[in-house]
């Protein structure tokens, strides 16, 4: 079996401008949604109490809301989770509330209701000081990833490659976040992990293409820079699609079988993988071209290296 039967190099670079405009538009849209709608942060970031309770038969959410309202939790969000029998209750932290005791009070008031009795499945309580730390730790992690990757790529390749790879892939991260803002999906810690994993993974993709670019520059003389890029992309496209397809199979399996907890995690990965292919192939390469990569740079690098060795 072989999916890709490509006779000639596909002239990707001819349409480079179009691709870059498309990414710019998606990027700006993502920024727009992030700015206007904002992310729907999970309880881990905002602080508060989250409870998951399960009933043997579907309860009436109205009754639960009423009873919680009487207890003084008017700001409680009550919604179904997964099935009609599972209920998710969210309570924000408030000043002067004995935060540690909230879950017990809520359970007591749910037990007092008529009808089926609830079974406690999960409680998460996060104090206000923890949330802030998580946000700053997340930002630090992102910076470390960006710095580390730029440094490594600049060392292994050239600064032009490093810069274009990181721009292309940061644009993926923003787009993932844009999706989460647009649909108001819950942004939790696992989603943050997925986003950063995607960043490492898509850079991976750019690396494979760049590797080919370097090799083609060295081996084939007389090709223009766009031709070299086209050749590199064309000869790796089969591997790109198959690898990402395989990873996506795994992620899809998590999406289908992983349950609610892994749902948004795998959703973030899915978006990341799809845009990862696009951006590393069709955004990073044109960027390298705009930044003015040429054959001489690799020849020079080679010479310099030799000198160092000597």
């Amino acid at each position: 079996m072989e999916f890709f039967r490509i006779r000639k190099d596909i002239p990707f670079m001819k349409h480079a401008l179009v691709f870059n405009v498309i990414s710019l538009v998606t990027f700006l849209l993502a920024v727009f949604f992030l700015a206007t709608k904002g992310l729907h942060f999970s309880v881990e970031f905002t602080g508060g109490t989250l409870m998951e309770v399960s009933y043997t038969e579907a309860p009436q959410l109205e009754k639960i809301r009423d009873s919680l309202g009487k207890e003084g939790y008017q700001d409680a969000q009550v919604q179904n989770f997964g099935s009609a029998r599972d209920v998710l209750i969210r309570l924000p932290n408030r000043e002067g509330m004995e935060t540690g005791k909230v879950s017990e009070k809520v359970m007591a008031s749910l037990n007092a209701l008529e009808g089926p009795k609830p079974e406690m499945r999960r409680v998460e309580f996060v104090g206000p000081q923890v949330g802030k730390e998580l946000a700053s730790d997340g930002a630090m992690a992102l910076l470390l990833v960006i710095g580390g990757i730029v440094l490594y790529l600049a060392m292994r390749f050239e600064w032009r490659f490093a810069v274009s790879a990181i721009i292309a892939n940061l644009h993926d991260v923003i787009i993932i976040l844009g999706f989460f803002a647009l649909f108001q999906w819950e942004f939790s810690l696992p989603v943050l992990a997925a986003t950063l994993a995607v960043l490492g993974y898509s850079v991976n993709e750019s690396v494979v293409v760049f590797d080919r670019v370097r090799e083609t520059f060295k081996k084939k003389r007389g090709l223009t820079t766009p031709q070299v890029l086209d050749h590199a992309i064309t000869s790796t496209i089969s591997r790109t699609i198959i690898t990402h397809g395989s990873t996506q199979i795994m992620v899809l399996s998590m999406l289908l079988f992983g349950g609610e907890t892994l749902y948004y995690f795998s959703l973030a990965l899915t978006i990341g993988i799809c845009f990862g292919i696009y951006s590393s192939v069709l955004v990073a390469s044109p960027l390298v071209m705009w930044l003015g990569v040429s054959r001489e740079q690799f020849m020079q690098v080679k010479k310099e290296k030799q000198e160092i060795v000597v």
Partner: protein
């Protein structure tokens, strides 16, 4: 030409065998067990004796066990099924805790790995499951360090007052103001003398002189060094106290760890009663010093049931009865420290106590009036007292430094010191994070994680075999060996496996196949360019190596960043992700090459590779 030297094949073989052995315990599952551990801080588990006692109690009840295991803190018995386990628990409970209202042992239901003994002996244990997979409660406690410092400053205030009086320095008031102690004087001379006196008595304080209206004052603050010591001490003592309290809950494997500078993580697997857990974590135990009633005949009378008014009957640690007066001489709040050590003259093991100024004054008076009498130090928990030690007063003790010695081994001295400190928390704590996972959700999470990995793996496997034929199969075997090594590594390191961790396993497998795809595509390309099959294999692997290395390093950078800055679920993900990248490098490059070499390496006249269709543009 495509042959590995023998040592390389052997190395791969050994690594795979190692992986297999350390993965094995995960397949045996778990069997029900009952765990007996100490329920009181005063009681130490003696492995041999407890095992014997456990054996006896089971045989009296006519219950068969599947093996007894002892470690430093507990003895566990395995049982065939949960029915026997429950029966055994009742029997053991009766035998070990005859007085149900005052249990000295924790008898808890537990699960033990069913893997054979030899695996356990070489340290091969099943993966350590996180709370989201086994159910239980997780708390993150914030220690109020400011509170610890304030407490110390309050004690210092009293100390300074005593010091000024002892040295006859006249002052116009000593008080704590925020994070400092302010001492006022009427004139400059007293101020200067005060400063001299304080700086000779303590080097924990930083002194700043000043003037406040007509008054002269000295503002004393704790040095950064002293503050650090107080904070370190506070968190250590709080952890010790938590350990003692959690024993009561009867949790089989509690985790109590320091996190960062001022936080403590408490994880109680299997605990569902959150309210009780919180209650116990927040409770304060107290220490009391009282006099022993040594009136002749009183003890004998008390033994027969006629306890004299104003006294209580307790048992000493050795088991001898002791009649203690109800009147409290001192409480644990006056005790600032207790350390094991040695008597300066006799070199006997001893416990050194430090009392604060007020405590020292009371203690001096009491000891002066009660020479050659006994005093009892009691630990009051759950409204019940227990005599930690009951020493005889040899002479008047002033200055707040007390030494208890005689008839004590150094180990006993350490225990006693620990107990004396265990009475109270050094600093208040607050729960800042709580996570409770019900047992059904935990089991569900395991099966969900397992199924996602399984079906994803199967789908990738089928696709690879169809697309790359024999080379696809080799890739799948390499991927399976990656999984094996990853699980073995996780089992060996006993890293906590959480649901995000399982997701990381799945994701890592999905990403690891990249290396094999790269290799296979390269080999196809070489064949397309007209290389001979053997040459294609060699160049394919060699050329792909650089790319694989580069791409794995970038992924690893992201993984390490998550590991450094992540907490909770993110860390669980990152650990597995990073380990997975390392194992995938090994399996994708060495294992798959080794297999290909075994299959094709010896064939001299190789015409064709089973790597799927090779389509050539010019052939069409």
């Amino acid at each position: 030409m495509n042959r590995y030297p023998l040592w390389k094949n052997i190395l791969i073989g050994i690594v795979m065998l190692w992986g297999l052995i350390y993965t094995l315990p995960n397949f045996y599952g778990e069997v029900p067990a009952v765990q007996v551990s100490s329920g009181k801080a005063t009681l130490k588990i003696d492995a041999a004796a407890t095992t014997r006692r456990l054996e006896e109690s089971l045989s009296t009840a006519g219950i068969q066990h599947d093996g007894l295991f002892a470690d430093l803190t507990s003895v566990r018995a395995r049982f065939r099924d949960t029915d026997t386990q429950l029966k055994a628990k009742d029997a053991i409970e009766k035998a070990f805790n005859p007085d149900a209202t005052d249990p000295s042992y924790v008898v808890a239901l537990n699960l033990l790995s069913a893997s054979p003994q030899w695996l356990t002996n070489i340290g091969a244990l099943p993966m350590y499951l996180g709370l989201d997979l086994r159910g239980g409660v997780h708390f993150l406690l914030q220690v109020d360090m400011k509170g610890a410092v304030t407490k110390r400053l309050d004690a210092t205030t009293g100390d300074l007052r005593t010091l000024m009086r002892d040295k006859n320095v006249r002052h116009a008031g000593i008080s704590r103001e925020g994070q400092s102690v302010v001492i006022r004087f009427r004139d400059v001379e007293s101020q200067a003398r005060g400063r001299a006196v304080i700086s000779t008595s303590s080097n924990d304080l930083q002194l700043v002189e000043g003037q406040d209206g007509a008054d002269f004052k000295i503002t004393a603050t704790l040095t950064p060094m002293a503050q650090k010591t107080i904070q370190e001490f506070a968190i250590k003592q709080n952890i010790t106290t938590l350990h003692n309290r959690i024993n009561e809950l009867g949790v089989a494997e509690p985790v109590i760890q320091q996190q960062g500078l001022d936080r403590i993580v408490v994880q109680l697997p299997g605990v569902q009663d959150v309210a009780k857990a919180k209650d116990i974590l927040g409770r304060t135990a107290t220490l009391e010093i009282r006099m022993v009633d040594e009136t002749p005949g009183a003890l004998e009378a008390a033994m027969t049931g006629a306890i004299p008014a104003g006294t209580e009957l307790y048992n000493e640690r050795g088991g001898r009865p002791l009649l203690v007066k109800k009147q409290v001489v001192l409480t644990g709040e006056r005790l600032t420290d207790a350390q094991p050590g040695f008597d300066g003259q006799t070199q006997e093991a001893a416990v050194h106590l430090t009392l604060d100024a007020a405590g020292a004054r009371i203690f001096k008076d009491v000891t002066r009036e009660n020479i050659n009498k006994r005093m009892a130090i009691l630990l009051i928990e759950k409204g019940k007292g227990e005599v930690v030690t009951a020493p005889v007063i040899r002479g008047e003790i002033g200055g707040g430094r007390v030494q208890i010695s005689g008839r004590m081994s150094s180990e006993e001295a350490t225990d006693t010191a620990l107990l004396l400190r265990a009475g109270s928390l050094a600093a208040p704590m607050e729960i800042i994070e709580e996570r409770t996972i019900g047992p059904s959700l935990g089991a569900e999470n395991i099966s969900k994680g397992f199924h996602s990995t399984l079906w994803g793996f199967v789908a990738i496997g089928v696709f690879m075999c169809l697309y790359y034929m024999l080379f696809g199969l080799v890739s799948v075997i390499a991927l399976a060996s990656n999984l094996l090594l990853l699980v073995a590594l996780l089992s060996l390191l006993q890293a906590t496996l959480t649901l995000p961790g399982i997701a990381a396993i799945a994701l890592t497998l999905g990403m690891a196949i990249d290396a094999n795809v790269l290799i296979n595509e390269r080999i196809r390309e070489e064949l397309r360019n007209g290389s001979s099959p053997q040459a294609a294999i060699a160049t394919g692997y060699d050329r792909a190596f650089d790319t694989i290395l580069d791409s794995n390093v970038t992924t690893l950078i992201a993984g390490v960043a998550l590991l450094v800055f992540g907490s909770g679920p993110v860390r669980g993900f990152a650990v597995v992700h990073c380990l997975g990248i390392l194992t995938s490098m090994f399996s994708a490059i060495l294992v798959s090459r080794g297999l290909v070499n075994l299959i094709y390496g010896r064939k001299r006249k190789l015409e064709k590779l089973a790597i799927g269709q090779i389509w050539k543009a010019d052939a069409n």
